[in-house]
Assembly symmetry: C2
Homo-oligomer: 199 residues x 2
Amino acid sequence: MTETATARRSRITPEREAELYAAVLDLLREVGYDALTMDAVATRTRSSKATLYRQWGGKAELVAKAIRFNKPGSITDVDTGSLRGDLHALVQREDDCAMEQNSALMRGLFMAVHMNPELLQAFREFLVDPEMADFQRVIQRAVDRGEVRADNPAIEYVVHMMLGAFATRTLLDELPPTQEFLRSYIDAVILPALGVRTV
Amino acid sequence: MTETATARRSRITPEREAELYAAVLDLLREVGYDALTMDAVATRTRSSKATLYRQWGGKAELVAKAIRFNKPGSITDVDTGSLRGDLHALVQREDDCAMEQNSALMRGLFMAVHMNPELLQAFREFLVDPEMADFQRVIQRAVDRGEVRADNPAIEYVVHMMLGAFATRTLLDELPPTQEFLRSYIDAVILPALGVRTV
C-alpha cells in the first residue's frame, strides 16, 4: 500500500466506519435508495461530503459496503467438517428477526438495482463477488473432502439456487426466509443437486 | 353458467379478446405498468372503458390475463414419457428471442408487483397458481411413472428453483435466460434435486 493510500484510509477509524455504515442502513430503511442522498448521510453522521466521496467514491459503493459490513462474519470462518453442517451454520448466523429486517431491505434494493446500473455494478463488486468467492471456498472444502465431485455441474448454480429461495419466498410466497425454511431448502434442493446425501 | 354470465361473456369474441391482450402487452412494453391506464387501453383498442371493466374488473387482472394468454400453450399438453423430456420440451416452447422479450417485460413487472399489491394478487390468481398447478401435474405424471418419489421434499420447491434461475440470470448475470442455459440448469439442479438420474 502506498503512503498516500494509507494516509487516506487512516482518516476514518474502524469505529467511525461502523457508525457511518449503521447510519447509511438506517437511512436506507427510512427513505429507500433513490431518495438517499450523500447530503443526508453527511448530516446524519456529522461528516463532510468531501470525506464521504474520498472514502467511498459515491452512493452506490457506500451502500454496497454498508450492507456487506452488516453481514455477520465471513462464511469461511465456518468449518464444521461437512457441507451440510457448514450450510446450516451459515443459516444460523442471523436470527429470524434480523433475516426479516434484512430481507425487507434487500427486496427494496433489488428494485433499485433494476433502475440504477451503478448500484448493480457496486453490488456485484463489493457484495456478490466476495460472497460468491467465500461460497466457492466452502464448496471447495467439500470437494477436497470428497463430498462433492469437482465436475458436478450444480456447483456453478449455487447462487441461482440460493437467490431463488430468497426471491420466491419473499416475492411470491410473501413470507420471510426463516432459518427453518432455509434449512429445509438446503436439504431438499442444494445438497441433492450437489450429490450430497442428506440421510 | 347463468344466462346473464353467458350474455356478458359473449360480448367479446375470442378474436377480439386476443387483439385486446396483444394491445395491452404492446402498451406495457411502451410505458410500463404504472403508466398504463384503462383509458389508453380503451383508446388503443377502440373499446369502451365500461366494456373493459365489465370483462376484466381492473388493470391488474387485465395485465395478468394478457400475459397468461401470451404464453405458448399449456404445459400439460406436453407428454414425452419422461420428466427430463417434458421439462426440456417446456423450455423449447419459446425461442431465445421471444424469451428475451418476455423476460424484459417480466423483469419490469416484478418491480411493479413489489409496489402494487393488487397486481401481486392478480399474478398469483391468474398466472402463478395455474402455471404451478400445471407443473404439479407434470411432476405427478413422473411420480406415477415411478421416476420421482411421492415424498421427495424438492417437489414443493420446483417454483423456487425455476424462478431462481430466471431471476439470478437476468438480475445478477444480466444475461437472457436462453434455452441452453435453462436446459443446463434443469439437468444440473432440478432433476438431481428431484432424484431423477440424468445420465
